[in-house]
Amino acid sequence: MDYTILIGGAAGQGIETVVHLLERTIKRSGYNVFTYKNYMSMVRGGHNFMQVRFSDRPITTYKNKVDMIFALTEESVDIHKSNLKESGTILVDSDMFPEEDYYHLPLNRTAKEIGNSKIVPTIGFGAIVKYYGLDMEIAEKAVNEMFKGKVLDLNLKGLSSGYEVGENKLSLELRNDENIILNGNQALALGAISAGVKYYCGYPMTPSTSVMSYISSKASEMGILVDQIEDEVGALNMVLGASYAGVRAMTGSSGGGFALMTEAMSLAGITEIPAVIVNAQRPGPATGLSTRTEQGDLRFVIHSGHGEFPKMVISLRNPEDAFYQTTRAFNLAEKYQMPVILLTEEYLTDYMITTKPFDFDRVKIQRHLAERAEVEEGRYKRYKYTEDGISPRINPGKFEDKIVLVDSHEHNEFGNIDESIETRNKMMDKRMKKFELLSEEVQEPWQIGVDNPEVLFVAFGATYGALKEAVDELNDENQRFGALVYGDIWPFPTKLLNQIGSQAKMIITVEQNRTGQLESLINEKTKLEINNRILKYDGRPLNGDFIKEAYKKL
């Protein structure tokens, strides 16, 4: 089984309410859920829609065709009816398109009887619960958790009235549920908290804001200082101050705000202060499409900051990956004393997916701080030359006879300004040695599909989910497809790509940008020939159907 319900309407009409209730109810009934959310940049009005897909099999992307449209506006029907399967149903109020053969229910009238027209979405939810034969107790619990007081009473009435007036068509059996359901930013934030972030500051910018707001909601409970500050320039500088003082610190933004951080990115490079920075991509240039998705910042992020210095870029592939990679990012930032950028994208920040509960035993905290015995006598050398380029790092205030000096100028081992040729060369080499060492421990991309594919797709980040379904379905037709999906992307791992790519008959890159930025990286770092490319840059996330269709058109 594999169903999709699309809920469409104007912003502020309650689409999110229905979706949230459906997600929880279906998940707790033991099914896998995947919700794709599509917003315009409006608080009220406009047209928004979300698609809740659910199945007894794992699902990682959304589908083009839907089984049910629950339309809160006539516009929603007009826009989406072409996406309806032949067997599909359109759930609308009785007064909407009365001449059509739709699933008409007296939603507005029932709401009026209950005494509040805002209750329509919950009545619709009740009708959907009935339609699919979902468990009413589970649905009630979801409503109970979501509302309080008077509003709760209204919504409980809405649910039961919707259930009463609705018709039953299917009967989904109850299955065992052990999963959690969350989006990429929640997973990322949870990863950061579990990694021990003590200081998060930032300036709100869609689609990064929910990382900060989630951590903020747990700030007092977990003893984390969350600071909304004046601008992104200040944000990364504050993070560097906090990290210099010795706490795990983090900031995040989207392209434009991230651009403001690039000055301090360079500062992190030369001062060798660890930092974890999130860039949640949205389509640019400039304000671009502020609530939509893109992978257009890959090159920008890799090269962010003036001058040459080591940094790491990890692109996040799904919420589970976001959780574990975030915890790893803190360890790597401290090991190599450098900035680590977590590259995510609007689509991943927002879609909801059922996933296995995170294993906190797997999370290791490695601070890489030097003990007193590891620091030589005499004046402390913050930038001591070592074989691997990593100098013993201590916190200021920790040892009575050691002061810690960091400097944005080129500096000597003590951290004092030094412009000599010898120092400059040695310090540049010292810093870049860390990058060489890091290059040896980057993780190869995830591999999907057959082991030695004739057709190899290569992608990065959140494209993973779509590619997974596309490759699986293509292999159902003919077992010759595979894919590599990059997480660690800078330094760029090439071993697996060279090994599999050199055997493949065709290599196709799949990216959400116009210029093929991953392709250009592959061209730069390998001798492989990219034969074809599937690019999408309209701000809407690609899905498995899109990749399959695009492949067939090549």
Partner: protein, 282 residues
């Protein structure tokens, strides 16, 4: 515990006001018995901003205009450190103007010493945010055409609880002001006049000496209106001393876990502490 601050050879011009400010800083920290490993001097870029290289305290010599943000990050992470942000007038009031305004709003317990020589020294003589209207510089050939900023009036109106002005030519007075600023619980703004002997031929040592006077003993520094009037006094006579000082709740004290907890840097990290948060997602 050793509370003596070693000094290193600076590359400042002979006669630069920075020497006197450094002498005062060393003396203030020593008289307060703050050991060097517990003090952090955070600076941006400029001649003043080289301070961490010339005095043996913890130092964060960051970016131009960005002395305050790291200072905030440091103080919030380790409340046991004495944090002094220090930079020039261009750095603080120009490039860092936004941070300046919002740092005042926050009221974090740091001292902020602004070396104000009314000119850009490091970049060789361009007008700064405090250069007088009409002054000819190496960039403004027809004279500066915008009004100077009034730093003390600005910090007062933004709600600073400690606002003062010192003069590098009066070291004992400056030491007292620095000590007051460092021990003040909250954000303390100390603007310090200093001559730039090479690039500012208007605001010379003598120019300042002829104008500055100490606020009278009976001056009431808790009177906001009086302070505001003094902050605008910038002509033949310019007041020095503490213009304004009142008690304000600090930013960090608004967080229970910082106010009554150990410094964040000393908190032990345990990934499993976060496991309970997963309940939100079932």
């Amino acid at each position: 515990m050793n509370c003596e601050y070693e000094l290193y050879d600076p590359s400042w011009c002979p006669g630069c006001g920075n020497y006197m400010i450094r002498t005062a800083l060393k003396q203030a920290l020593e008289e307060l018995n703050i050991p060097p490993h517990k003090a952090v001097v955070v600076t941006g870029i400029g001649q003043a901003a080289k301070m961490p290289h010339y005095i043996n305290a913890n130092g964060f010599n960051g970016l131009h205009g960005r002395a305050l943000p790291p200072a905030i990050g440091i103080k919030l992470s380790n409340k046991d450190l004495t944090v002094i942000a220090e930079s020039g007038d261009g750095d603080t009031y120009g490039e860092g103007g936004n941070h300046f305004i919002h740092t005042i709003r926050r009221n974090i317990n740091i001292a902020h010493f602004v070396h104000d020589n009314q000119i850009y020294g490091l970049t060789k003589g361009q007008g700064s945010p405090t250069t007088a209207m009409g002054q000819i510089t190496t960039l403004q050939y027809e004279g500066v055409k915008i009004e100077p900023i009034k730093p003390l009036a600005l910090s007062l109106t933004m709600g600073a609880g400690f606002v003062a002005r010192g003069f590098s030519g009066d070291i004992p007075h400056l030491v007292e002001l620095m000590k007051e600023a460092i021990t003040y619980k909250g954000y303390a703004h100390l603007d310090i006049f200093q001559p730039c002997v090479v690039w500012n031929k208007v605001n010379t040592y003598q120019w300042y000496k002829d104008r500055v006077y100490k606020l009278e003993d009976d001056y009431d520094y808790t009177d906001f209106n009086a302070a505001y009037n003094k902050a605008l006094e910038f002509g033949d006579k310019i007041p020095t001393g503490i213009l304004y000082k009142v008690e304000r709740e600090t930013y960090e004290d608004r967080f229970e876990f910082i106010k009554n907890g150990q410094p964040l840097v000393d908190v032990e990290l345990n990934p499993k502490d976060a496991q309970k948060l997963m309940k939100d997602f079932y």
